[in-house]
Amino acid sequence: MKLSSLKLLTNIGKRNIHISKCTSLFYEDPGKQGLRIKSDRELEWEKMSFLNKCSIELNLYKEGIKETIQNYIKDTIRGPQYFIYDHEVNVEWRFTGDKVELNNWIVSSDKDFNMGYSTAQLEYTPESKGIFHGFLDMKLPADGKQKNTGFCNLRTVARLDPFKNVVPYDWHAYNHLVLHLRGDGRIYTINLHMERTFDMCMYDIYQYFIWTRGGPYWQHVRIPFSKFFFTYKGRIQSLTTAMPRSEVKFISVTIADKIDGPFQLEIDYIGVEYDPTHIEECAYENYDY
């Protein structure tokens, strides 16, 4: 009896337990195919013991409850926001010269992923405005895999609630994205990253371009949300829909215009605006099946 049961167990083990990783067709790796760079805090977290983790989580939970209560009181005192005035810019991100603000921004370039030699920084100008500058290098690394290089990216950090969950920006009442900036004549891309449920939609981005004027004059850019087109992993998709305005996780500015040389983009603020004269939902044809 014993022997037969043992045999059975071994057979089950052979049939149903897989050592290799099982992958499905639609699975998207949260580590972005090994391209995601972990921060020091994340690496520290991985090294911690289970008990340590528990105690930290509990403390965070306590703080979360405290914050939610405080926020609730604040919201009830302020009351709901009924009116959104026409052409009034609701500023979401502004550079005022405070160094704490720089923690809300993440700069990356192809050099960080060993894909090229471009460099970029985010700093303050003497007038305490944010300046995103660097050098775009189109030189290919000699690894025999890479076909294209040359990008620098500046993105914001996702907004979190007291329990550290991502809260998307709710812009359904607005229809324009407003940027006050001063460029150098190059073309930049503005990306709206979507907050979606499934990992398949991790790379869903709505994009549009900013043609900067260059020169000593500041530029006021207003882009209607209807003009944004849908891309997946940087590839434009033929089936576009109107941009869902209440699903924006974070926003980013990219330079990848294939010109070797230094670039600089001064940013004052980024906000949203409601223009009653703009009725268009989507500027591109929608084909329904």
Partner: protein
Amino acid sequence: MFSIFMRWYEPILSIEINRKQTSSQNSNRIDKENDKKHEEKTRRESITGKELQISTFHTTEKKDKDTYLECLRIYKSHISIRSDSVIFITIALKYMKEFGVHKDLNVYKMLLDIFPKGTMIPRNMFQSMFMHYPKHQYCAVDILEQMENNGVIPDPEMESMLLNIFGRHGIPTEKYWKMMYWLPKFKNLNPWPVPKPIPDDVLELAKLAMIKISSVDVRSSITVYDTIEIENSIEETWIVSAIAPKQSELLIQHNKKIPIYVEGPFRIYVAIKAVDYFVLKTKPPICRKYPEYEPDAVDKIQNPYLSRKSKDIILPPSVHEQVDATIFAICATGTSSHDSLLSWIRFLQNENPVLAEIPIVFTLKTSSNEKLFIESNKPKLPSDALKNNNDNELLQG
């Protein structure tokens, strides 16, 4: 898997048909064997031929459009080596930029023309479902991809070529349709269009740059000066200057005790090329700030109709009165040197005689690559930068 099977299956079918024929005609068999030997021979020759074709791109001394097309012509003349078309095209695509034909639509068409017509069109449902001739399709997609990267928009002739090669269900044909949907949409979106091909002349580029910057004010006029016209000029170059009537008005209103600065060079990109420019500007007036008031302070609510203090009308600042500086004029010179800027000021004096009474400070840098920002560890004021600069010079008119 199925597509591979189909491709195996086709020749088997053809062999079977051949067997039936040969059984009736035994005398032809010997001839066919000879033919096979001949085919093998030509194939061997073709391998050496292929290597020759590929090396032609590398060995040619003259690298221009004619030689590139000649290479394609040599390749096309050998019908036996058509099987290497994928390898040949992938290599030919890499050499395009070197030969300067990467923005030529006709050359892309010639490349696509290498593929045989009709043979790669799927003939049944299964062939089109599982990719038919995948390597060839990917290669054609690569051609279209390179066109897209270089800003070349295909034309309807290319569509008919793709339909003849891959048919209606081919991936390259689909890619073409997507390209023709999106590319014309973005083609004319640039608010500062540039002539195509982009001019190589520096003067033309400088003019374009000045047009781009001065597009903030519609009334601004752009003039090209020649330094020979001025007496005692040291250098012989051109100067492209842009000034608006509002700016000369601002110059007249300017306090003559406060100096104005010639700053630069700064960098601006026109299409894919960079141009250096200089700015004639001054610090912003101190009193421009609006009085601070708290909207939430309920005890300090003011009635604007009763408590009006002054009756002056406050005009909104013009475009040239920016937050960080008031800009009077911009220019680009041929040499970007100190002397050319001196003669620029002299040219401006002819139309704005006020400039003779205002002190002008030249704060020039050696190159536009110098940093214009504070480094994160050591903050630095702009006034310190002025003190350290050796090129400073005070000009009293």
